[in-house]
Each structure stands twice: as C-alpha cells, then as structure tokens.
C-alpha cells in the first residue's frame, strides 16, 4: 500500500491540495481530507470508463486501433471548414495549449466551458476591471464574506472550511464553533416547524397569520460586531444560506437592481421605494453599513448572477459596488469557478491568443466576439460542420437546440469517461485522467497554479489527452502537407 500526500483534487475550482490518497495494487482504496465530491472523484474514477477507441460505423460504435481512430479524427478536422473545439476545463493546462495549436492549424473556433459559466464575468472584467486577491489573503484577513448567487456548500464543499469563515487565519479566527452552537438551535427550530406543520395538517386548520415584527426586518446586531461573518444573497435559502450569519433573499432576476440600489445608498442618495428586488430599503441600508464597516470584505459571486437576467451587467454592477466600497474600506471580488481548471483554460487561452474564451481562428489570427464566436451561438446558427470535445459533456449541459446541431455533424470526443456526449459521438478517444492517472498543471479560482499529481497508473491503452491531441495535430499537419503537395503539382 502507498499513500500519496498533498494531492491536488481535480474536483472543483477550489483545488484543495491537502488530500491523502491510499493506493493498493494500483487501486484507490481510501481518500482523506476530501469533500463528498472529491471522494467520489477518486473512488469512482474507474467506473463508466471507455478503455478502447471507438469509431461509428453503420450507426454503431465499434472498436478501432488508436492510430486508426486518430487518423479518422484528423481526417474529419482537416476537411472541416468551421470546426469547433470545446471543453478544456476538466483537463490540464498542457492539454489546452496543444488544443489551441490544433485550432490554429485547422482554422477552427476554440471555446471552453466558461462560455456557459463565467463567460459574462470575463466580459465584465474586461469592461471595468476588478480588485481581487488570492484565497490565502482572504483566509488570513477577511472579516466579511459575502456569497452572492453562489452555493459553496454544494458546489465547492470545502471552500468555507479552507478559505473563509471556518478556517483559522493569521488575523481572523474560525467561526466553526459558533456555527456548531447555533446548529443545535437551528435544528430545534426546524423540528418545531415540522411539528407545527404536521399538527396543522392533522387538525386541518389554517395557520395563524404571522405577526410582523418590525425588528425582524433589520439585520441582526451580531453583523455589526468585529468577528468574522458570512452573508449570503440568493434567490432561495441554499445550504450555504442556512449556515450564514445572515441570508438575504432576492427575487429572481433582480440582482442588478439590488446592486445599483446598494450603490445609491452608499452614495447617501434617497431611494423613493419601499423595497428593491423584494428586499426592504431598511435592510439594504443596514447591509451597506455592514459592508462599509468591515475591515476586509470579499464578494464571491457565482453563476446565479451570470446565468440570470442581466448576465454580464450583473457582474459589472457587482464589481462597481466593490470599487465604490474601496473608497471606505478594503474590499475584493472573486468569481466562484466551477470546473477544476476552467481558470487554467482561460489563462492558457489568454496567454496564447490574447482572449480567455470563444476564440475564432478561421481567419488565421485570433478573433473574439462572444455572442458570435461562442460555441452555443455558433451551434444555434448551425454554422459549424464538425466538433472536437475534450473532457466535457455538452450533450448533457448545453440547451437542447444547440445539442441538436452539435450531433448532426461529425462529433469527436476525447474524454476519460463515458458521457452523454460520448454516446452520441462518431469517434471516441478515451484518455487518462489528469490529476489521478497523469500529471499536469491546473489553476485555482484565484489564478494560483497548482501541480496535479499522478496517484495511479493509467491502463496501457490510455494515453493522456495532451498526447492524443499531439498525435492528432501531427496527423492533421501530415494531411495538410499532402494536400499542398497535390495542389502544387
């Protein structure tokens, strides 16, 4: 048995790098320090794997040698006039780099999954800039953590434990014990609520009208104390909201209004309405007071802002609020990135092409115009004629109309796992998993690069996606050279 320590988890954008993995006979037997998602990633990596390359013939996927499957892939890509290369967030930066070289060679569009997660955030940041920092600084210094439209308890389960309220920093104490003591009363409250509901159902009587207490409309006094605190703003009481010191429920699609109202209050302007986005103005005034009076605040925002009405304008308003707050105190903002290396995909794309996603190489140089050169739009317009998907599952995660267009054309999948997309593919090239079976580099959500380790050996038939992409690139170049020779006589 071997134990790999300080392993980086290829689970989500938090990239926890303190995992311990027990391996026996090249099989992961135990995972320590990981969340439920990370543990599933390491324990379940070998299930639903496709080990051999597959190519569709007469409607059925049949096994083929790797070299023949790569030749078929290269033939499809070299003959396509507007191919799309999509994914890149669940693999290493090294693979992304080869992908961009391939996109340039075949004159395609290369886009990553940020196009359907934090693409609007990138657009806003390009518009107005943003003040940010690393998660380490937040851990040591932040006394106010604001999660807006994000639910780290479910999507980044160790984020709070490692980087914000439930960790001891150099200058800030963990609020874990405070949470534990409040948990008892919270559970008792829920039990009482359920018992009351049950009694009401049994007695078939209407619940009495709740007495409106004006004081419940204001923020709790604890938020004005010097301790570390957490506020959650969301459209529903998520699991993160349940552990926060204060939860502010906003109406769906009203985040932009709420941000702008807070900015107006910060400028000490009068707002002539009683509530904005379902939040009373009194509460907003208190909230702005809490933000102004913190020593180091951070606004983590999730796809609750980028996927609802307003999209990039929501983020722009959030960034502007943080900028305004910096006139009074220290405040930073950071997107909660979902896929473990979506930040890396953006960084490699920016480093190589100048743009973070949706890069069109058809003119021979990089062009960037999300809305036109983004994959969902290209598919919706029915413009692409082939697709290479790397470690992603757009058939499961794109809107239906986009998927219909995607599967109409030749579809190549390079992915370690069987997915909805690989079921619909014409060529499937199984690869080793970066961060479990092969090494690599990934970027955490705060743009800190971390090494991905190899904890088990891949099967002999599985190469890394980086190597598979290199072989495709070599084959494409060979085809192009051959075509040039034929053209030149």
């Amino acid at each position: 048995m071997t134990i790999a320590s300080n392993v980086t988890c290829p689970g989500c954008g938090s990239l926890c790098d303190d995992l311990e993995i027990e391996v026996e006979n090249n099989v992961v037997t135990k995972v320590r320090n990981a969340c439920g998602m990370g543990e599933s990633r390491f324990l379940g990596y070998s299930t639903h794997r496709c080990q051999k390359p597959l190519v569709r013939k007469n409607g059925e996927l049949v096994q083929m040698s790797l070299s023949d499957a790569i030749k078929e892939t290269a033939r499809i890509l070299a003959n396509a006039s507007y191919p799309i290369l999509y994914g890149w967030s669940n693999t290493s930066c090294e693979a992304s780099r080869v992908g961009i070289e391939l996109a340039e060679e075949i004159g395609g569009v290369i886009d990553n999954t940020s196009t359907v997660c934090h693409g609007p955030s990138a657009l806003s940041i390009q518009d107005v800039g943003f003040s940010t920092c690393t998660l380490g600084q937040i851990r040591h210094r932040a006394d106010l953590v604001l999660y807006w439209g994000s639910n780290p308890w479910s999507a980044h389960p160790r984020h709070i434990e490692r980087y914000t309220n439930f960790t001891d920093g150099r200058f800030r104490r963990s609020t874990w014990n405070k949470y534990l003591s409040s948990l008892g009363s919270y559970r008792a409250e829920r039990r009482l609520k359920r018992t009351t509901e049950l009694a009401e159902e049994t007695c078939a009587r209407q619940p009495e009208e709740e007495l409106i207490d004006e004081h419940t409309q204001r923020l709790p006094p604890a938020l004005f104390e010097k301790d570390r605190k957490m506020i959650v703003v969301d459209v529903r009481e998520t699991r993160t909201a349940a552990i926060a010191d204060y939860f502010l429920q906003v109406e769906p699609n009203k985040d932009y209004e709420l941000f702008q109202a807070m900015r107006a209050l910060l400028r000490e302007e009068q707002i002539q309405v009683e509530s904005v986005g379902g939040v009373p103005i009194d509460v907003l005034e208190d909230l702005v007071d809490v933000l102004v009076n913190c020593e180091f605040g951070v606004l983590f925002f999730g796809v609750g802002l980028t996927m609802s009405a307003g999209k990039l304008r929501n983020i722009e308003a959030g960034i502007s609020l943080v900028r305004d707050l910096n006139q009074y105190t220290k405040f930073v903002i950071m997107p909660m990135r979902g896929h473990y290396n979506v930040t890396g995909a953006n960084i490699v794309s920016t480093w190589q092409t100048g743009y973070p996603f949706a890069v069109d190489m058809t003119m021979g140089y990089p062009r960037y115009n999300p809305g036109e050169t983004s994959v969902v739009d290209i598919l919706s317009r029915g413009e692409s004629d082939a697709a290479l998907i790397v470690s992603s599952d757009p058939v499961a995660h794109f809107p239906k109309d986009a998927v219909r267009k995607l599967v109409q054309n030749p579809l190549i999948v390079v992915d370690p796992e069987t997915s909805a997309t690989s079921l619909m593919a014409d060529v499937v090239l199984p690869c080793a998993i970066a961060g479990i079976e092969v090494e690599g580099t990934a970027y955490r959500m705060d743009r800190v690069p971390l090494p991905l380790k190899q904890v088990v050996r891949p099967s002999r038939t599985c190469l890394s996606d980086e190597e598979i992409l290199r072989r495709i690139l070599r084959e494409v170049r060979r085809i192009k050279r051959r075509e040039e020779v034929v053209e030149n006589g």
């Binding site: 693409g119 699609n253 969902v376 919706s380 809107p399 986009a402 998927v403 219909r404 069987t418």
Partner: protein, 133 residues
Amino acid sequence: MTSLKVTLNTGRTLRQGQGKEYGKLSERYWKSVAICEIDPDDLKKLDLSDGRLIKISTESGSVLVRAVKSMRAPHPGRVFVPYGPWANAIIDSKTHGTGMPSFKGIQAEIEPAPTEEKVQSLRELIQTHYGKK
C-alpha cells in the same frame, strides 16, 4: 389546480456533483438530477406528493422529472432542477449576444404527469430529443 406557473432555477447540488463523478450513466447520477425541488405549499396546490412524476414545460419544450419536497422552503412559485440533461432539455439556447444561455430565472409551468409515464433514463432521453446517430 392542474398546473402552476413558476420561476425555474437550475444549479448545482452536492448529490449532482457526487453523481456525475460516479458516472453519467450511473443510477446515482440519474436519481440526483432528474428531479424538481418544489415548495411544499405548491405541492399541495397541485395535489402532488413527494416522488410523484411531474411535467415541467417552458417555451423550449417539456420534460418529465420526479417532484421532490424542497428542504429549502419557503420559496413559493420557485422551483429548482439540478444541472443535467433533463434540465437542459427545456432551456432556450438564445444568449442575447453574450454567449451564455439563461439557465436561471426562467418562466415555466409544472403539472402532474400521467401515471403511466416514467422518467426517462439518460440513453432514452438523448434518443428522444436528439435521435439515433
């Protein structure tokens, strides 16, 4: 009441995250995403019980999933479906020039589904919506 107009949000859950890591073809994944979390009062309005089959419809189509009594209530008029092929079967692909479709805050309608219907498996769902290659 036979149907209810609601605002649909899609998003992550811990179970969805675990399910996808165990495999997209696993029952665990299927059970974690082919659901719709509904406020208990809205369930009563539709005379539905926890686990019953419902149809969610938007302008882009409809899909069958299981109703789940929300543990995060109250949120009347708002329903939640975890990310996955079932949710995306009813999402509009328009991005309004941003590259990003609207996965949250969508106008939808929910209604009880006929008892003879069932939730489709991943293979059945993709065959129904995208046909056989």
